[in-house]
């Protein structure tokens, strides 16, 4: 197509690129992990949404999936993993335990991971069905698409 051209906004292209190339770090601690696995595998297939590349180092990931119960004993580990991730990064609280502590309101369990790290998307359910997870992922993609980050390198 000779002479064809396209106009768009830089931020729109960047958001589009980012939302379809989510590298996820699964922080899996409990039974929700089974539901995460079935979502990630062929039947529901997270890869259709560009979130197929699971990273097992937080330094390579930009989406932190906190799947399962987080105890006070584990809280510093989760904080360290979050701090190790490079910007831009997003956090998903997967399942009722990660959202609010769930049925566990006792001496051991953190009452929602947003007491430790900021959370972008909450996916409720005990455990959430794969459809809920995909819905949460799509909502996160909408959020990423519409984010207006402050571009440090453009400001200088």
């Amino acid at each position: 197509m000779k002479g064809a051209f396209l106009t768009t906004r830089f931020e729109h292209v960047l958001g589009w690129a980012r939302k379809y190339s989510l590298f996820q770090y699964p922080f899996i601690t409990a039974c929700c992990g089974i539901e995460y696995m079935s979502t990630a595998c062929a039947h529901y297939d997270l890869d259709r949404f560009g979130a197929g590349l699971t990273r097992f180092s937080p330094r390579q990931a930009d989406m932190l999936l906190v799947v399962g119960t987080v105890t006070h004993k584990l809280a510093p580990v989760l904080k360290t993993v979050y701090d190790q991730m490079t910007e831009p990064k997003w956090v998903v609280a997967f399942g009722t335990c990660a959202v609010s502590g769930g049925i566990y309101n006792n001496y051991a369990v953190v009452q929602g991971i947003d007491r430790i790290i900021p959370v972008d998307i909450y996916i409720p359910g005990c455990p959430p069905r794969p459809e809920s997870v995909l819905d949460g992922l799509i909502k996160l993609q909408e959020k990423i698409q519409n984010q207006r980050p402050e571009w440090r390198w453009l400001k200088t």
């Binding site: 006070h72 004993k73 809280a75 510093p76 904080k79 006792n106 001496y107 051991a108 953190v110 009452q111 929602g112 947003d114 007491r115 430790i116 790290i117 900021p118 959370v119």
Partner: protein, 161 residues
């Protein structure tokens, strides 16, 4: 079988042993803390051969006017039989002799009971917390541990609105 077992036990340990239940398959004996190690050593060896310690746990019975109660679940593989042994402990600074030398798994099980109930196991090789973290104060499964008491390791953020 059950009557026979109970008769053998009471004959071997005439003092410090009380039969709480002789229902077949649900035999329970209470043992004094002083003779616990002797009784357990004998139960593990021939002829009864309770070679396996299935579990070891504790009950806080202070609200009932008693102290702590240790519960040991034994299994004899050769005789295909189970036996429960209970030991009453004091309400203040409960202590009992360790069985880590008899059954190796008692090591971690006793650490768990120490962690949750604060029972001291005399002669334990490495008595420290196993589940809760360093700096955790108190024993969370004691009935007088406050229901809503939290001891977070990190300073918590205010939850997002």
């Amino acid at each position: 079988m059950a009557e026979n077992l109970m008769r053998v036990l009471t004959e071997r340990f005439p003092s410090g042993l009380e039969v709480l239940s002789d229902a077949p398959g649900d035999e329970v004996v209470a043992v004094g803390a002083a003779v616990l190690r002797d009784v357990m050593t004998w139960l593990k060896g021939p002829p009864l051969d309770y070679a396996m310690l299935l579990d070891l746990t504790c009950i806080d019975e202070r609200p009932l006017g008693r102290g702590f109660t240790m519960v040991y679940h034994l299994q004899s593989l050769s005789r295909n039989h189970r036996l429960r042994v209970k030991v009453g402990l004091a309400a203040e600074s409960p202590a009992v002799s360790s069985l880590a030398g008899l059954w190796k798994n008692a090591n971690w099980l006793e650490r768990e009971v120490y962690d949750m109930f604060g029972v001291t196991f005399v002669g334990h090789p490495d008595l420290r917390r196993i589940l809760m973290y360093e700096g955790f104060e108190g024993f969370p499964l004691r009935k007088d541990y406050p229901l809503r008491k939290r001891q977070p390791r990190l300073k918590e953020r205010a939850p997002d609105a």
